[in-house]
């Protein structure tokens, strides 16, 4: 029996988790609105999801040279991601081990060591503490710096994507991504890819899950939310977004493949490079790709979008992080990626289409942000919890997956289903209640 007088604030964490087990029912297509607005759930999420799973940090091309570094956030904690003199990528907690001051305040740069602004402790970019001002004089002869190395965040990469986790017990990144890697190969492994410029960052007053939900499985909204794009003739028709496949794998990952496409969405001259990096089946999917939209659990969404800009077809590839900064607030961080060996003209037009469609000024993006903001406002506070408001996620519950698709995972043969969102929330619930 669900309790009728719910007050999560006064519940212990254990009681709150019991409430989640009772009320979150992905298999029945029922998700409480309060998951998007309750601070207690947000706090548990931080501990049970964000401190447990792999989280995206950046792309290898952002630190191509020895001693390059970027500073990024991993579950709310600043991390220096650096390529050492030995070429190895390391994630160092951006905190001096002496008194806790933040070591580095730049977004990016090239440095072989970091000096603390508080007392001047100096750390090599492999984390070793190599300098303590006036050491012999004030700490004595026997002082041992070796225990003062910077704390490390566990780092693993897949096809250039760098992930980190604070959980030393977490399974390997390869296992975490599992079957989903087959699709990530098409996204970022099809060719040598590079990030262009720094990521774009902006704040939306939205719970982070709305972004993940939107990208993992919501092709349905395209017809209405992005109706203006159809009117402008940038995409074929309002129902184009239905065609293709919706696919999910374990760990809550999911994507939507828009197919078919009469045009090859990528630079023709790179076909040999694609073929050398992909299997025949993957190349076949790439050749027919109109778009690809998905989410790596929990909060890294990705997109390949093929649109007509100034009368010419062009595709762009991007990844985006829905970084939670509060129950009702997230920082959106977007990276634009392009084939390193593409022509300058392609790179320029691809970036142009990315900025026009999926950046803070993007004419797709901006309509989504309006929706995300209003959903969050409506889900916030006590009423949605007390009244037990739920959202309906039953679309496609009656359908059976197809068995003959070339790629792995659970595959449905058009994109208008909410199977991916149910899968996302199932894994979310598993983590929350473990």
């Amino acid at each position: 029996m669900i309790k009728t007088n719910i007050n999560l604030e006064e519940m212990s964490q254990k009681e709150a988790i019991e409430y989640l087990i009772e009320s979150v029912r992905p298999e029945e297509g029922s998700i409480p609105a309060s998951l998007l607005g309750d601070p207690k759930i947000y706090d548990i999420e931080h501990k049970k999801v964000f401190l447990k799973t792999w989280l995206f940090i950046g792309h290898e091309s952002e630190i191509p040279n020895k001693n390059d570094f970027i500073t990024r956030d991993v579950a709310g904690y600043s991390v220096i991601l650096t390529r050492g003199a030995d070429g190895e990528i390391r994630g160092l907690y951006n905190m001096c081990t002496h008194r806790g001051m933040k070591l580095c305040r730049a977004d990016a740069g090239n440095k072989s060591s970091f000096t603390c602004p508080y007392h001047g402790f100096n750390f090599k970019n492999n984390g070793d503490c190599v300098g303590v001002p006036l050491q012999k004089d004030i700490y004595g002869e026997g002082f041992d710096k070796s225990g003062l190395g910077l704390h490390k965040v566990r780092i693993e990469t897949y096809k250039g994507l760098i992930f980190g986790t604070w959980n030393d017990e977490a399974e390997s990144l390869e296992d975490f991504l599992g079957d989903f890697k087959w699709y990530l190969d098409i996204l970022v492994g099809r060719a040598e890819m590079e990030v262009v410029g720094p990521p774009q960052r902006f704040i939306i007053q939205s719970n982070w899950k709305i972004g993940a939900d939107n990208f993992v499985g919501d092709s349905y909204h395209t017809m209405v939310t992005h109706g203006s794009i159809v009117k402008l003739g940038m995409v074929p028709s309002a129902t184009y977004s239905k065609k293709g496949y919706q696919i999910h794998t374990s760990h809550g990952h999911g994507l939507n493949l828009g197919t078919p496409n009469p045009d090859f969405a990528f630079p023709e001259e790179l076909k040999d490079e694609y073929k050398s990096n992909l299997t025949e089946e993957q190349f076949d999917v790439l050749s027919n790709l109109k778009n690809m939209i998905g989410n790596i659990f929990p909060n890294l969404s990705f997109l390949i979008s093929h649109t007509k800009v100034k009368g010419q077809l062009i595709s762009n590839t991007s990844v985006r992080l829905w970084r939670p900064v509060g129950v009702d607030k997230m920082e959106v961080i977007t990276w634009f990626l392009v084939e390193k060996n593409a022509s300058l003209d392609w790179k320029k037009r691809s970036r142009e289409s990315f900025i026009l469609t999926f950046s803070p000024s993007g004419i797709f993006e901006q309509d989504d942000t309006e929706v995300f903001t209003d959903i969050t406002a409506a889900a916030t506070g006590t009423m949605p919890l007390v009244k037990q408001l739920t959202f309906n996620y039953t679309m496609g519950l009656h359908r059976q997956p197809v068995g003959d698709f070339v790629g792995p995972g659970v595959v449905f043969d058009d994109k208008f289903t909410e199977a991916n969102q149910r899968n996302f929330y199932r894994y979310w619930l598993d983590l929350m209640t473990t």
């Binding site: 730049a106 740069g109 262009v196 774009q200 704040i203 007053q205 970036r351 901006q366 309509d367 309006e370």
Partner: protein, 169 residues
């Protein structure tokens, strides 16, 4: 400062005030008439650098990187019934100040820098967004009128605290 430059400064101040009025009044056609057909309209991503290393903005990633065709797509989109980001439109108030004439060739070209603060209010939201930065503008004299031929807007935030840029800077 010469009288000629004082007058020119005044003229560009008035130009920028008029532009602000068009944009705040959501008169996109009026605004469009002030633009040069060969305009470059850019807003680079601002970054945090160590120390005073400059420039502290990106040379290869932008929130806007438009020519006249792309600006027209944005304006045409805002005129459809589906441009939810601006339905209903934001109430904006653009304040332009610290206008400085950097280069001036009468009846030919001018470079003008100015500060811009945009107050933005959406719907019933009691919170507002503030977008501030420096405009680095270039003007070209065409058929007796100054047209904006280049704008680089250097925004003052590395993380933009506004939900989108469905408005112009």
């Amino acid at each position: 400062m010469s009288l000629e430059k004082m007058l020119a400064t005044y003229e560009f101040e008035q130009w920028l005030y008029e532009e602000a009025k068009f944009l705040d009044d959501i008169d996109f056609d009026g605004w469009f008439n002030m633009l040069h057909p060969a305009i470059s309209y850019q807003m680079p991503v601002r970054v945090n650098k160590e120390g005073i290393e400059r420039p502290d903005y990106s040379l290869d990633m932008f929130a806007f990187d438009d020519d006249i065709e792309l600006l027209k797509i944005r304006v045409d989109r805002l005129k459809t019934d589906y441009a939810w980001a601006e339905i209903p439109p934001s109430r904006t108030r653009r304040s332009v100040n610290n206008v400085r004439l950097i280069e001036y060739v009468p009846n030919e070209k001018a470079v003008v820098h100015s500060y811009l603060t945009i107050y933005r209010s959406r719907s019933t939201d009691i919170h507002h967004d503030l977008i501030s930065g420096e405009r680095q503008d270039e003007f070209t004299f065409v058929d007796g009128e100054w047209k904006l031929s280049k704008r680089v807007f250097i925004v003052d935030q590395t993380t933009l605290n506004t939900r989108n840029l469905a408005i112009f800077v």
